[in-house]
Symmetry: none
Subunit: 204 residues, 4 copies
DNA sequence: CGTTAAACGAGACGGTACGTCGAGTCTTTCG
DNA sequence: CGAAAGACTCGACGTACCGTCTCGTTTAACG
């Protein structure tokens, strides 16, 4: 399986020949992201990505196995840098801060790219796994942590359906992003937190 | 713009020449649905659809402008027959019944097809409009009706966020279907109704 | 086998329903000839012929089996009216007159049409037979008659190779028409008669 | 304009990218010749040629602009290797030898291919030029050379119509080949030489 | 510091599907 | 029933993109 340069170089101490140019990875990912943002996943062609990065197609295929692989990696790369766990000291504050930053993140090109991938999930198990790991699990874990810390502080009811709350939080954002197309703005996040999430789990 | 036979014939009173064979529409839609269920949207080819329906490709392109157009119409055709408004006499009953049938509907081939289309929405405004009309608005209206009737019966709090409840109901199902891949089964529907929707809007 | 109207009506005494409109034959042949002269045989389409004659394609196929059949018939129709045997009283005069009129005939649209058909002869036995009957045999017979009458008048050598003379006469014209593209004008005909044909067969 | 590899590579000293595989030219020409011999020009499809040569269609279109272009080039390639000027020391011998070998050449697949092209000449000036250069001029020049050498040896009459003799020689063969379909055998060549060409130009 | 081997840009390669068009057939309405 | 209209199946067209391959060139690490 092809892998991008960072993983490729790992543990390859005595390399002979010209080493891979790590800067091509970024150029290609950048090109892929731009093309995807412009024309979508389906209309993205490897030739277009190669041309935009002034690279040969072989240079792409040396690093990624397929269009899908390239796109996944491109998104993942960006996604994993954007999910910091907030700590404002209160459940409401943590939720607002995290969902706001997640909403902003999804509203950018990554969100569009993610949407473009959704249609491929049922027929691409590897993609599905990577996608869920990147876009779902990590976000879910942060939310779960927020709730757990709130529970320690005594902010949650004993029988609060934490799993459901996490799922609903993600669903609300994704649904807007991908299905209705309505904006993921501050008022919406506020309403989700106030009207749905807090009543769902909070004491009294 | 190409249109399928029903719309094409409308208002064409004294048609000259051989009329379009309306039965070809169904055969082609059926073939498209089968192929899509087997190989997914991306791998669906017009040649495959034509061959399965024993039709010429021109016959397809006479009715639909593109693969996307064909798939949209195929899904819409089936979708619009499946969203009956229940009336059990209670909010909980209505929600359970409707969400159960909607979940069953989405778990079939239509759900897969719908998912395949999501990735195309941002770059296909016409598709987006048709998709939302078919999959979102009609479902939203039924849910809205359920809540309104519950309100008349006095089952809802005065300040119940009905719009948000409707959105969350749809989001919960779609999120599972398309993103997490978890099953849309009865227990899940039950939990959504009991833990999320009813607390959100019901009195006391 | 489809046949054009004249042959079709023959022996159809008590015909039922609307009789075939014989004028459509001519209109279609005329259209075919025009289209062929404009774009050649290969680029001639049945739709174009039908459109030019303001006829339906079925009307064509009711009379001719195929594009080839239509074109053959069109040419034959015109060809059979143009090969009158001359009688000037002398071999030289007869040859000049006949070859001149044949050259003029070939220089018109029929010549172009005939050329268009040549490429089809090896793979279309029926066409080949019809073509030879129309364009070769009838012309050959007239030439043969001219030589025979000259022989009766004592203008030919006893051992004159009449068959070869006939073949050379046709070949000379056809070769120019179809291969070299040089003009089939009076000086050329004159040279063929004076320099080739007369020396070949004439006494002294 | 697309051109086959030899012409393409000429003057492309510092070629970028993978060079064209010249052996594909031959494979494709061979395939084209075979298909043409089997089914004729009209029924020859690019798909069939590509399949037989195990090539992609793009590989064909990269080298030749069209079916016609491919066929012309295929024939030209073969034609230019087959017209050696004989030198038996006598006019009769030279004529017999050359016309025999030319007749044999035309009786093979090239003759069929040439015939297939004749119908296209009026509407394809480039083809016409190439065709005449290959099939007419070169053959005409050889014949002209034979006559000129015979003249130097004093075998020709002073006023012998050499141009006409050359034309008649070509016409006699082509006419049989393409129009009458009669065989181009030795007896025929012999008769053309003895009965027509020699009397036309030889002394006494 | 020259050799060497892999990475690089470029683009040809065998394939597959595209959307269009023409051939010949079939099915309507109208006369 | 004939004729015009045009939808039908079938199959070839020429193009575009896929993922692979071969070129000539570049670039480090090795010797």
């Amino acid at each position: 399986m092809a892998v991008s340069t960072a993983a490729f170089n790992e543990g390859r101490v005595p390399q002979r020949g010209r080493p891979r140019d790590a800067s091509r990875d970024d150029a290609l990912r950048q090109a892929a992201l731009e093309v995807m943002a412009e024309v979508g996943y389906r209309a993205l062609t490897m030739d277009a990505v190669a041309a935009r990065a002034r690279a040969g197609k072989a240079t792409i295929y040396r690093r990624w196995e397929s269009k899908l692989d390239l796109v996944i990696d491109t998104c993942t790369q960006l996604a994993t840098q954007n999910l910091a766990a907030p700590d404002t000291g209160s459940l409401a504050g943590d939720l607002r801060e995290f969902l706001s930053s997640f909403a902003a993140f999804l509203s950018g090109p990554i969100g569009k790219a993610a949407q473009a991938l959704v249609g491929e999930l049922p027929h691409e198990p590897e993609l599905a796994a990577a996608f869920r790991e990147t876009f779902l699990i990590s976000q879910r874990d942060v939310l779960r942590g927020i709730l757990d810390r709130a529970a320690e502080r005594g902010e949650l009811r004993a029988d609060a359906p934490r799993g459901m709350a996490v799922e609903i939080a993600g669903a609300a954002l994704i649904y807007r992003l991908m299905l209705t197309g309505d904006p993921l703005d501050e008022p919406f996040v506020e309403k989700v937190v106030e009207q749905v999430l807090l009543p769902l789990v909070r004491v009294s």
